[in-house]
Amino acid sequence: MSGSVESSGTARLQRGQTRAAIVGAVGLVALVAGAFGSPEQFFRSYLPAYVFVFGIALGSLAALMLQHMTGGAWGMMIRRILEAGARTLPLVALLFVPLAFGLPHLYAWADPVKVAGDAVLQAKAPYLNVGFFLARAVLYFVLWSVFAYFLSRWSAEQDALAGTGPDDRRFRMLSGPGLLLYGLTLTFASVDWVMSLDPHWFSTIFGMLFIGAQGMSVFAFAIAVLALCSQDAPFAGRVKPAHFHDLGKLLFAFVILWAYLAFSQFLIIWSGNLPEEIPWYLERASGGWQWMAAVIAIGHFALPFLLLLSKDLKRNRKALMAVAIGILVMRYVDAFWLVAPSFEPAHLAVHWMDLAAVAGLGGLWLAVFFRLFQSRPQLPVNDPYYEDALAHGGHH
């Protein structure tokens, strides 16, 4: 490791970790307390918060593999942020465990009484049953954790070298198949965990929609963290406006991709207007849910799209950070809008436990993220392409 870049747990990151841990603890205590009053509400609040946090963690692994494959200079500054995010996947797997105890509260196909009275659910039972559902979840998490483990371990080996390391093909050999598996496993996971809330409904673009959404989550998150610590060692003087510009462009691209996919799904189902497809949108466009849909259309697409058009904004650390945080908030709103109307189709309902769940899971996850991020050098100084990426920012 080069002398100038130490694994420095800066005061700012330490403070972030402490605050996130406090918010997480308060949220979890409130959530657990609420669970005694209403176990059903606990699971209904837990799932959207879980989908939101999961999106950042798995998105980190995907973006990390993407960066290993493309070798873009944009990734060198955020590689350790992505690695720390990917290293939280075992925690995310652990956080999945409570859901396993509440499946009948969430999914009609997990309730034998409902299945007995529904021919469609009986036909889908070979796939949608509790045993197979849990086995698939275990398989996803094992696969994701293995990829995260090796990419992180080899990175640690690179840090241990005396100087700039050789071009390491192992990263690419793993990341190529990894990206392919990411697309497949996330498609299945999104069908299992979210789409099957409405077991009669189906949309073949659903997995892609999750990929676009996770791209938004991870780039917004990485920008926010990089902006937070760009004034401290080891980032100070190394992170340039050009790096934020690149990350802003990638975030912009994912905003457009997500909107494109989300609208494609809507247009096809709306045009077809078939009885097995359209109820999903009818539920989400009535009883107050339409206002949340409008907020998503504006806050998740239109507003970030217009703001990110500006080159000056993308090069401005604070402005870009504000947009990124806004997008993260909207990512939760979007997860909520996907999940919650399945439980309350008649009218928009937000429970205090929804907020407790997102504070609890988000805070806990963020605290662990900060801890993992501080446990390693925050820049991959021994990577053979590190110097190139640094020079990319220009000389000023």
Binding site: A242, F263, F266, L267, S271, N273, L309, H395
Partner: protein, 178 residues
């Protein structure tokens, strides 16, 4: 003093980083009427030249807005006003159906504005430009990098400017005839 007898002085560089560095120093030395010529786009160069022309991005934005509005407007006019026809049991004003064409028109007009705006703002087509008088300038489209300080620059002085350029690791410095 500005010099009108020649177009300017041209320095030739072997690699892009030398050109960018020389451009920075020339700008720092106070020269403003200068331009660089390269075989491929160099991102840092615009910044080094302090190129601040925002007309093209605004033109592209305007093109996109005009394209989007006209695409949406055209469909609205046809489907709601001029020839209302029920298709697929949808209302006349079936806006989700209008989005794909609106999107395509936005891209089309923005792209056309970018291409023709770039050509127009560059003053193209241009039948004569003095830089082509310099011997070896054709290499600007192959593997050489050129910096030209124009004689119309208030700080331009045939001798002093030439000396400065020679001091900037220039491979060769030549005068460009008008």
């Amino acid at each position: 003093m500005a010099d009108t007898a020649i177009y300017g002085l041209m320095a030739e560089f072997q690699d892009p980083s030398a050109l960018v560095e020389a451009t920075r120093r020339a700008v720092d030395a106070g020269y403003r009427k200068l331009d660089a010529y390269t075989p491929f786009p160099i991102e840092e160069l615009a910044e080094a030249l302090r190129f601040r022309d925002r007309r093209l991005p605004l033109l592209v934005l305007a093109g996109g807005i005009v394209g989007g509005l006209s695409g949406f407007g055209l469909q609205y006019w046809i489907n709601v006003i001029n020839y209302p026809l029920i298709a697929g049991g949808k209302p006349y004003f079936a806006w989700p159906n209008f989005i794909p064409v609106t999107f395509e028109m936005t891209i089309l007009f923005a792209a056309l504005a970018a291409v023709f705006g770039m050509i127009g703002l560059n003053g193209l087509p241009l039948l004569y430009h003095p830089v082509f008088n310099a011997p070896g300038f054709a290499l600007a489209s192959r593997d050489r990098f050129f910096l030209v300080i124009e004689a119309s620059d208030p700080k331009f002085d045939r001798h002093a400017t030439g000396e400065m350029l020679r001091g900037l690791t220039a491979h060769e410095v030549v005068e460009v005839a008008n």
